[in-house]
Symmetry: C2
Subunit: 308 residues, 2 copies
């Protein structure tokens, strides 16, 4: 009913970062791809299996130093139902290793349908008399364009099952301002959406002061990060756009409160593809290179904040 | 590179409606559920198989009178990767029967990730040297909150593969106005989003005057439907909210142009569950009841418009 579970992991590991698992097939080392192509040909099935092996190895290497992973649903849907099976397996494997899992799906719909997404990704589905958990992630990213009744089903499951959501507020991409920066009675759309997050979360505030309703705010907009940190005191931020997209640790510091809490910063490609960037790193060491980049990122981010 | 393929089907069948396949398991007749529970127990797999059988039967009954189906992704994700396999099978089966398929996924993300969603749902994915089509739908619903760079990858595939998208503009739910009705320099957010659709589609206008970029506008807001029809002359509307959600055919008429084109109206539950509503309809006749409701809906909608 709040982000306490995640925040406790962040405090324990002294690491407010999350590794995004957005595994394009080209990120997976050739020797893994070839292993599964040999078994199943150049198929969606082979691709999905290769990706699971890749994810597992990275999770094994980072689970003792990084509190959470963020699989991006799009990169699993790319491989059809085989890819979705890999998403399910990745979520369960990471949880087994003690990690918190944020599915990045940016789901949104009207109430009745949002209930289906909620049950799919965070809750449970009743089949006859049997309760099944299709994905069972710990948190889900969502889009609030449809307003309160598209969020309510999520709030119910957040409360009942101790889960969380992150609502898109100010996204990291270049054209995010086309709508999000437009003014409504002098207030930018992103702040209007942020205020809704505060309202939605108001009944579910945990012991660190943050509710189960977080906000996605891009690292590429440091001014808005600081402004929103002040405006939304109970809303935890998920911050994409660090590294590859150009957001620096210094600018990101504004996303955190005076205790170094209130945000978690994502890096995807830089961690997954660290082995391609390191000099003389053999493909086989891809997971160790990922760990080194995750450590480097932790040091970089924590050097600017007050996390104890 | 436009909605011409869909519009031609609408003209041929004299029917501007689409049947939403949002198959909650409780909509599936008991005898079908029991058949698959007997095989696979009360599992996600059994549920997903039952739903595919249900969908097939409805498609068989309506494919000669209804131009399109609209599977709602949430109701497939509810059954995990088994459900996603059913979504793939449903899309292919409907296309084999000559129907146009709109996947209702309301997907959205930054450019690079939106490219993954685009390739998954509308385009193709390269595995080694082999091109695979994970879903291969004809159109996809999307959410434009992230602006142009979250739409561009879709436009490219719309042009190359003759596909379409529907962007959320004014949704059918009660709280849609919380953000969508707010004014930006005197213009409601939904109209600002509508104007973006016109712009995004401007390079891909087909012979009926409509581009590959459509808009979702709810049947529950007839005034906005008429207003947006005038404002967005090249944007085809996907209109949810007819029937079960309360939108009437008379109010919907404003979504159409003077030739009875420019919109397609969705009904989901009323068609799928027609057998529950008809007096003395045996469960076994669920698909025939669905056809009768689809016919009734066609007559209702076309009685108010000028489709020749």
């Amino acid at each position: 009913m709040s982000f306490d579970r995640l925040i406790e992991k962040i405090i324990t590991l002294k690491n407010p970062t999350v590794v995004g698992l957005d595994p394009k097939l080209e990120y997976v080392p050739e020797f893994i791809r070839q292993e599964f192509f040999a078994q199943d040909g150049e198929t969606l099935k082979a691709a999905a299996k290769a990706i699971f092996k890749f994810n597992q190895a990275i999770i094994d290497e980072i689970c003792d130093i990084v509190p959470a992973i963020k699989p991006q649903a799009a990169y699993y849907e790319m491989y059809g139902h085989y890819g979705i099976k890999t998403l399910e397996q990745t979520i369960r494997y990471a949880q087994l290793k003690g990690m918190f899992v944020i599915t990045d799906g940016k789901r949104n719909d009207i109430g009745a349908t949002m209930e289906a997404y909620t049950n799919a990704h965070l809750g449970g589905v009743k089949i006859g008399e049997t309760e099944c958990e299709p994905f069972g992630a710990d948190a889900l990213t969502v889009n609030g364009y449809l307003g309160t009744d598209g969020i309510e089903p999520l709030l119910k499951v957040c409360e009942e099952k101790d889960k969380g959501i992150y609502v898109l507020v100010k996204t990291s991409n270049k054209s995010s301002g086309e709508l999000q920066d437009k003014l409504i009675d002098g207030t930018p759309v992103y702040a209007v959406m942020g205020d809704m997050c505060e309202k939605w979360g108001s009944g579910q505030i945990g012991k660190y002061g943050y509710s189960s309703v977080g906000a996605v705010v891009g690292a590429t907009y440091p001014e808005q990060l600081s402004e929103l940190r002040k405006r939304l005191p109970h809303t935890m931020f998920l911050v994409p756009g660090y590294g590859a997209q150009g957001g620096g640790a210094k600018g990101i510091a504004g996303a955190f409160d005076e205790n170094g809490l209130g945000a978690i910063v994502n890096s995807s490609r830089a961690v997954m593809c660290a082995y391609k960037k390191e000099e003389n790193c053999p493909e086989q060491d891809f997971a160790k290179a990922a760990r080194r980049e995750a450590e480097r990122m932790r040091e970089d981010i924590t050097s600017y904040i007050n996390l104890k």
